[in-house]
């Protein structure tokens, strides 16, 4: 059996403190944001009174909060494993956290005090044209909050970039591009380094794209004479938004590559198809964003075709390399069925199954009847709620576990099944709502649509209870985990 807790993953006390800040904050924020999501579904289902003003504020907070928190938790996964292979500065990791918290406070002030409700996508020119619902100052505060959070992540990526270049010479070698066409692939080249390098390249550019449109919007906010091209701004926003949220998956999947082989006891070696998959994903994640603009008919036709075709090809690395590789690793392996292993498999399922409705929606003719309906939150909640979050929870559960743990506790098992059943019912209510043409981002729903909202509310409540169990268990576990580096026991 392989070792679950290798020596080179031990944390020094300062590292552990910073990591714990990330993890506890993420769990608490996930809980709060899920409660906000539940309130929205209750209001849409007419089970709760909520004014449209408050609804759209809650919607803005939920969107921005979930995207940011998913990125925060995923960056903790990437940092934890990448530091084994390249030098990373704990101070930079801490700086990212501090900047995130400052940015988050600004967002919350802008939303709940300044009444900003321009959605997390801050689609120009809505932030500065609210018809008096919120002030330009609130919009500015919101965008500055985003900017500060972006600076934090950029610092983290620059530090990781420095580390990869120091060890591997350049980013291309970190990605393993030297082995794409010829040569013997180094079987020990870490998957973590390949994935992290992809993340560094893609999300640095994504954040820069977001920063450009935010700075342009800020200038416009104070000098409306300097107007933006709304279509160009939309391109930049969706480039940034698509890349940023997708990268949360690519950071968190590092945990799957690192941990799954330990629970199956099987090596998951480096291979040429794996390198091709990640090289292709590096490019595809950056050029696929036009699938968000398929209903913008003024866009060049070739971009719409690119959006559809690249959406299809983007599924190949997921289906045929990562999910397939994970299943191959599990198949007849005498798996160690512990809670991290269960969550890892759930995460692979959530990712693979969730991209089915996503890819279908990227077909232009389908997009005509599904775009901006509940189908869209249906597919992204599928691979975020049942994909990314389980990857992160698996990592957290692994951290608080021990080599000697041999079984899954009753509360963990209960939490897992509640999360899975509640999560599935929740995302299927979104998809069913999309099938019924229910628009997304509507404060009130027609009576015929409310049944989806009501079932979704019950399901969301179940997920929240499950997450509460996870949160208590993980936070208690983190408190009891040794605070300084010490030898790991031998594997069982």
């Amino acid at each position: 059996m392989s070792i679950l807790y290798p020596q080179n993953e031990m944390l020094e006390s300062r590292e552990r403190m910073v990591l714990n800040l990330y993890l506890v904050t993420s769990l608490v924020l996930f809980l709060v944001m899920m409660v906000l999501g539940l309130l929205m579904r209750l209001a849409q289902g007419a089970w709760m009174d909520m004014s449209p003003t408050l609804f759209y504020q809650v919607m803005t907070a939920h969107g921005a909060g979930m995207v940011g928190t998913a990125a925060l938790a995923s960056s903790a996964v990437m940092w934890f494993f990448l530091r084994k292979y390249v030098p990373l500065k704990t101070s930079i990791f801490l700086a990212n956290y501090v900047l995130f918290m400052i940015g988050a406070v600004l967002l919350l002030v802008a939303i709940f005090i300044g009444k900003f409700a321009g959605a997390w996508t801050f689609l120009y020119p809505l932030p500065v044209q609210s018809l008096g619902v919120w002030s330009v100052g609130s919009a500015v505060l919101f965008m500055v909050g985003f900017l500060i959070i972006g600076v934090g992540f950029l610092l983290f990526y620059l530090d990781a970039m420095r580390g990869v270049i120091r060890v591997y010479g350049n980013l291309g070698r970190g990605l393993g591009l030297q082995w794409l066409f010829s040569g013997t692939v180094d079987p020990d080249h870490p998957k973590t380094v390949v994935a992290s390098t992809m993340v560094i390249i893609v999300n640095s550019l994504g954040i820069l794209g977001g920063a450009v449109v935010i700075v342009m919007s800020l200038i416009n906010a104070y000098d409306p004479e300097i107007a933006l091209n709304a279509l160009f701004a939309k391109n930049l926003i969706y480039f940034f938004g698509h890349v940023f949220i997708n990268i949360t998956i690519y950071m968190a999947v590092i945990g799957v590559y690192e941990l799954l082989p330990r629970y199956t006891g099987r090596r998951w070696g480096m291979s040429r198809p794996f390198l091709w998959a990640w090289a292709a994903s590096t490019l595809m994640v950056m050029i696929v964003y036009p699938h968000h603009l398929l209903m913008d008919f003024a866009m060049p036709r070739w971009m719409a075709v690119t959006g559809q075709v690249i959406s299809y090809t983007s599924g190949l690395p997921v289906f045929t390399v990562t999910a397939y590789g994970a299943l191959t690793n599990i198949h007849r392996s005498r798996m160690r069925w512990r809670i991290p292993a269960m969550l890892l498999i759930l995460s692979m399922f959530g990712w693979a199954a969730g991209i089915v409705p996503a890819i279908i929606d990227a077909t232009i003719s389908v997009n005509h009847v599904m775009h901006n309906t509940l189908w869209v939150p249906g597919h992204f909640h599928f691979y975020l709620l049942l994909g990314v979050l389980p990857m992160q929870f698996a990592f957290m559960y692994h951290l608080i576990g021990r080599d000697t743990d041999r079984s899954v506790s009753r509360s963990d098992r209960l939490g897992f099944w509640m999360y899975l059943s509640g999560g599935l019912a929740f995302v299927f209510m979104f998809l069913a709502g999309g099938h019924a043409s229910v628009p997304r981002r509507w404060a009130t729903h027609f009576p015929g649509w409310q049944v989806y909202d009501q079932v979704a509310s019950l399901s969301a409540a179940l997920v929240i209870v499950a997450l509460s169990l996870f949160t208590v268990r993980i936070c208690l576990g983190l408190m009891h985990t040794p605070s300084s580096a010490e030898p790991a026991p031998a594997g069982d």
Binding site: T320, H331, R334, A353
Partner: protein
């Protein structure tokens, strides 16, 4: 079966196939087999999966893009009926709300302020088609109503406080009756 029904069915089949693959592997995970044997068999199967997905992608791409599902945006609209639409916070301004069934309508859609979504719903609240309504940009949506009746325009892009109330009704009348 509506277009949405076919999309729903395709999605359910796709998710079911993924689920079956996972359930199969999970059921087998308690047994033990030589990893090399498992890998060899799995990688051989993967070549077929990869090839199959590529072939499926090519077929679907060809079938779904030919004819191209978005009307030409260049030059004057070729449709016999043209409706100019301007989105405002929070109302639709249209130069007519009466069109004929069975004859293509070109909706020339723009916005006076922020982004809106111009979604056409039938009397059963089923979405038929849509385009974006953007400031400084005109999107041309060409659609042929099959049946006379009451239809509604709903806003499908979040545009602020009364986004959900941005609804306008249009009358689709029998094409032959209107002409006579």
């Amino acid at each position: 079966m509506s277009f949405q029904d076919r999309i729903w069915l395709t999605t359910l089949v796709g998710i079911a196939l993924v689920t079956l693959a996972f359930l199969h592997v999970i059921r087998q995970s308690g047994r033990e087999e030589d990893p090399k044997t498992v890998q060899t068999r799995a990688y051989a199967l993967r070549r077929w999966l990869f090839g199959g997905l590529i072939a499926l992608g090519i077929v679907v791409t060809g079938a779904s893009l030919w004819p191209f599902p978005i009307a030409s945006q260049h030059g004057a609209p070729m449709a016999p009926q043209v409706v100019h639409v301007v989105g405002h916070q929070w109302a639709w301004q249209m130069d007519t709300t009466r069109v004929r069934a069975g004859i293509p309508v070109a909706f020339e859609v723009t916005s006076a302020d922020v982004n809106h979504g111009f979604g056409i719903y039938d009397s059963t609240d089923r979405l038929l088609t849509q385009t974006q309504s953007m400031p400084g940009v005109t999107n041309r949506l060409v659609y042929t109503f099959e049946h006379p009746g009451k239809y509604r325009i709903l806003c499908l892009e979040y545009c602020g406080l009364a986004h959900h109330a941005m609804i306008r009704e249009i009358d689709v009348v029998d094409g032959t009756e209107e002409e006579s």
